[in-house]
Amino acid sequence: MDFAFTPEQEQLRQEVRDFIAENVTDSVRAEVEDAMDEGHGEEYMKLRAKIAERGWIGISFPKEYGGQDGSRIDQYIVEEELARVGVNVGLSGSGGPAILAAGTEEQKQYFIPRLIRGEVTFALGFTEPQAGADLAGLQTRAVRDGDDYIINGQKMYTSSAHYATHIYMMARTDPDAPKHKGISIFLFPMDTPGVTVRPLWTIQNDPPAPMGTTYGMGRTNETFFEDVRVPASSMLGEENMGWYVGAMGLNLDRVGASRYLISVRRDEDIVNWVKENEFDGHSPSEDPEVRDRIAEMWIEAQVCRLMTLRSMSIVEHGGNFTYEGSAEKVWAPEHGVRTTEGISQILGPYAQLLNGSIGAVEDGVFAHNLMGSFQSGINHGSVQVMRDQVARRGLGMPRG
């Protein structure tokens, strides 16, 4: 067992740092972060194109679909360095891995290169008002009609529906089958007639979360489907096998570093803040309680990082990936909540001041992270569901 990065991986990390120093200017960062709630802007797309030119996006995807046939850990190194400056170069969630695993050749040829280039982005259409933790209880229906399906129903918390190009969604294709067995997945453009988006505003909306907030978005949506006609070729995987395709995609996506990467910036921001500020001639970093608390957060973050790298290592070596992603999906969000709470204790009453308030620390970024951190334990599989998966798949316990 070797926990070290190879010399080539260390060199890659340095190359990414050099690239960032040269290309990720303050103005680019401002545009990237300002545009986050409305999707990516022009500056981000230019930056993403430069990153893609270097072969740094989708490194682990096959070359025939625009990737590099490279290492997932190399991809992680690129993502980790860019996360430090707020630049996300992910592939729009679990859709990419699911397409690669279950898509037709035509779907792979169409979607994967475009995901890598950032030309296609997915809104995730799984959750419904009554079907979140109990996702298999979803009621959106897709009925076969000749060469098409007609979809009726609605999805909840489709967070990027207002700027995504496509939706990656589940619908019930056999209402008489047991609930996990009558579901199929569809991929189709957001501008398909009959798709309607209704905005929902979150606690991060008013006042707007400042630059550097890593948790939560100001806007999410509910999305309605009313007699939406899509070709049968929009289906991903076999009919009625969508539950398993979707679960596989979510599991593969949990291997990704995104959960850990959310914490990188927040943890580093507070370390920098306590080192760079002085009160009455003293730095908070001289306070033993502050130092202890921050050291504790850092140790927790390293557990998170090691769990992420272990999962990637299992995938790299072709291992059977079962409960590891679920374990990460418990640890990372709960670590996030603990650290945002710890930061609020370090900052005292100032930690509660939101963006725009007089006296708000760093424009309220820590307060906004505190509010938004709880969301991370709910979306893409709640920590309760993840614990159940660890118990069953990892520890061999019966279904509860």
Partner: protein
């Protein structure tokens, strides 16, 4: 005109579904102030807001029949 099956308020279905904007890649957007809806057992039900819809979802059978679709 539909009726919110929970509070009984009249809901204009056409207004609730009327396009008032467009997402970046072309989906219709509606005004969130005009209520919301729910596809339940093959039928659309209309609500004045999320609170009524949540009550409906907790116990749909107790409200069905009170509203129109």
């Amino acid at each position: 005109m539909a009726k919110d099956p929970v509070c009984g308020k009249d809901i204009d279905e056409e207004e609730a579904r009327q396009q008032t904007g467009q997402t970046r890649f072309g989906a219709a957007e509606v005004d969130p102030q005009k209520g919301t809806r729910r596809f339940h057992n093959g039928t659309w039900f209309y609500f004045c807001g999320l609170e009524c819809r949540s009550k409906f979802m907790a116990s749909p059978d107790s409200f069905i029949g009170a509203g129109s679709s």
